[in-house]
Symmetry: C2
Subunit: 404 residues, 2 copies
């Protein structure tokens, strides 16, 4: 008789966004006249850039004719895209990353869930708290996290690195030594980040203790400050200890287009074993390449027109972030993030829990955000708002919050 992977049974329910939806639906049903503004989920709202649209139409047309039709893509990505990435994201910043260190995928969520597979089951992971849930959940499924303490919201074998006002949201080296360290910078959900110098300290630490940093840089396009690294490979020694995950979702609005990539440097070795070769094998066995049309869309992101249009788009969202941040500050809130990231992380007022504040904001301002406690125990007492709404909605939401 077959048996299931019992680790799945350990996963607590994933109720954050479904609870939000339930509460919003109940409120809407009771107050059909109220116009709700959603600044909760981290999805973008602006349409794809014209350069991207043009590239996709062109690629669709190619697929319509036998002479230009494309079947199976190379598992690891088309050369035209890997080379645009190597030039645009790395060489342009002085990072020596070559095409064959870049693995094109259907998005950073898949990569961040799958990357743990190439590591041993008894490796210890360290995560920031609060954190994007996929890092932990994918390790739970792999049996790497021990037992769950529901009251604390924590796993026995996970090393948590609290990021709160107390440490200015900068994770500290943990007491126990981790094998894999997940860092998402600029951070989701807190919208904060660390300086290049601080990141260098993490790289040095990882090299010293023999850990691998899984560096999720999905929000790098939102960095506005000079002393913040866009890639971990700006730090010396990172190629021997870091894997970088990148996304087209937030810099180019590809949340529904699906494209990302992972960088696994050839210098990253466990003894004689190349992690680059392992990831290539994983990709080649369990993945069949990103769609040709989508890879052409990705290429357009690096074109001159694409760059110009998308820097406008990022600026649009960052104007929202600035509005929210300044508006909330003026209204007396303690607010973080929003400078190098499209998220605003606010301290709930008067000791309210994250869910109390959610209810309060929904009932009184008809604005939906995300309770910080949904991202981990150290998120309790915080609340996330996103800058991904329309300018109009953002302004309206802010007006309502100010008038509370």
């Amino acid at each position: 008789m077959y048996k299931i992977n019992e680790n799945y049974q350990k996963l607590p329910g994933s109720y954050l966004f479904s609870n939000i939806a339930k509460k919003v639906n109940a409120f809407s049903a009771a107050n059909p006249e109220k116009k709700i503004i959603r600044l909760g989920i981290g999805d973008v709202t602006q349409p794809l850039a014209p350069a991207v649209i043009e590239a996709m139409h062109g690629a669709v047309d190619e697929m319509a004719h036998a002479e230009t039709f494309r079947g199976y893509a190379p598992d690891l990505g088309y050369d035209f895209l890997r080379s645009a990435i190597a030039d645009g994201d790395y060489r342009a910043r002085g990072c020596e990353i070559s095409e064959d260190e870049i693995f094109v995928s259907d998005g950073a969520k898949s990569d961040s869930g799958n990357i743990q597979e190439i590591f041993a089951q008894d490796n210890r992971i360290a995560v920031c708290d609060p954190v994007y849930p996929v890092y932990v959940d994918s390790n739970v499924m792999a049996g790497r996290t021990g037992t769950y303490d529901a009251a604390a919201g924590m796993w026995s074998d996970v090393i948590y690195m609290p990021c709160t006002m107390a440490n200015n949201f900068v994770p500290e080296f943990p007491k126990e030594t981790p094998d894999l360290i997940y860092l998402c910078l600029p951070n989701n959900p807190t919208g904060t980040t660390i300086t290049r110098t601080q990141l260098q300290e993490w790289v040095d630490y990882a090299n010293r203790v023999g850990a691998v940093i899984i560096y999720d840089a999905a929000y790098e396009a939102y960095i506005s400050e000079e002393n913040v690294a866009h890639s971990i490979y700006e730090c010396e020694g990172a190629k021997s200890c870091a894997i970088e995950l990148r996304s087209f979702s937030k810099n180019a609005g590809f949340t529904g287009v699906r494209l990302g990539f992972t960088v696994v440097p050839k210098e990253l070795k466990c003894g004689d074993v190349s992690l680059n070769a392992m990831w290539a094998r994983r990709h080649g066995t369990k993945f069949n390449g990103a769609p040709y049309i989508v890879q052409r869309a990705g290429e357009a992101v690096y074109s001159e027109a694409g760059r110009a249009q998308l820097s406008e788009q990022v600026a649009y969202y960052m104007r929202n972030a600035k509005l929210i941040k300044e508006g909330l500050s003026d209204a007396g809130y303690t607010v973080f993030g929003g400078v190098n990231a499209p998220y605003i992380w606010l301290k709930t007022p008067e000791g309210m829990t994250s869910w109390d504040f959610f209810d309060y904001l929904l009932a009184n301002a008809n604005v939906v955000g995300t309770p910080g406690s949904g991202f981990g125990p150290s998120g309790e007492g915080y609340f996330r708002l996103t800058a991904f709404g329309s300018l109009e909605n953002t302004k309206a939401a802010l007006e309502r919050i100010k008038n509370l």
Copy 2:
């Protein structure tokens, strides 16, 4: 110090297609005047159907405007596609499969590699021999296959079910009881299949011994005989023992578009645990939905125009299959498949090994096929040709082979 997943080190090199490429390149270099015809890799060559192209252009246009832009797709697939699949592939054939038993993905290769994750590590797998390599390799990576005997080309903990002329390519119930049974029908690489009655016996067997059948039906569109099931759910009792993998690659030429789906019936339970719920959790954690544009393309496959155009396309390839099959038979070869599948599986003449025949065909007919031994030890002495070439190339290749 971190450690790697040592199971990856057990994987033998994947040399089949790279060896083919090396030999072809060497021959080309030595004989630049010869025109090589490739009937090796199972990739399609015909362009996408006009209905699909139209749907994709339409979806791209939607992504260009804020009012119709689509961000994150539902993890499990858009309702419009799940409902087209439930109607078109299941209800139309009398199978009661509902929308929420269908999980849309980026292709059957991903699903066939990932599906093993929801099962326990000590489950025993059974595979046909010869076999599509992903089933075994993904289980090797998970540590489920024991040790590799390089001379035999077999894993100690895998149950092999030889499919050869001796049993008419119909897998027999193995002596040892498996937990997971991979069946690809119509079969890649042999191009053969089994009758609905024979499949019913497998379903009854799986229910009797408590095994799950992972049923890969990627080639179902090529079925021409009445007594062959298009879905395993045409068999009674299949919903309590079978997961079905489906692809848009071969029925609609989506090898470079990337779309597939997996059916996990709600009746499929291990004790109280629903495998449907487990797969939903896996999908929701490690996958972020197939692209909107691609899902609209998938929907068009089920439209009236799409169906008509694609049945033409399948007929085109099957004319090639018939030509190859009849032509080779006339030339004295012993030939299988090609009736319910786009693959022709031939016995190598005069006791040649699969690679001997590869070399012979390349040197004398300048035709590239795939050595059967590349798919497993029982493939030795066989050779695969595909019907996915153009009619012109297929005819030319056949003429050359006949004239040998």
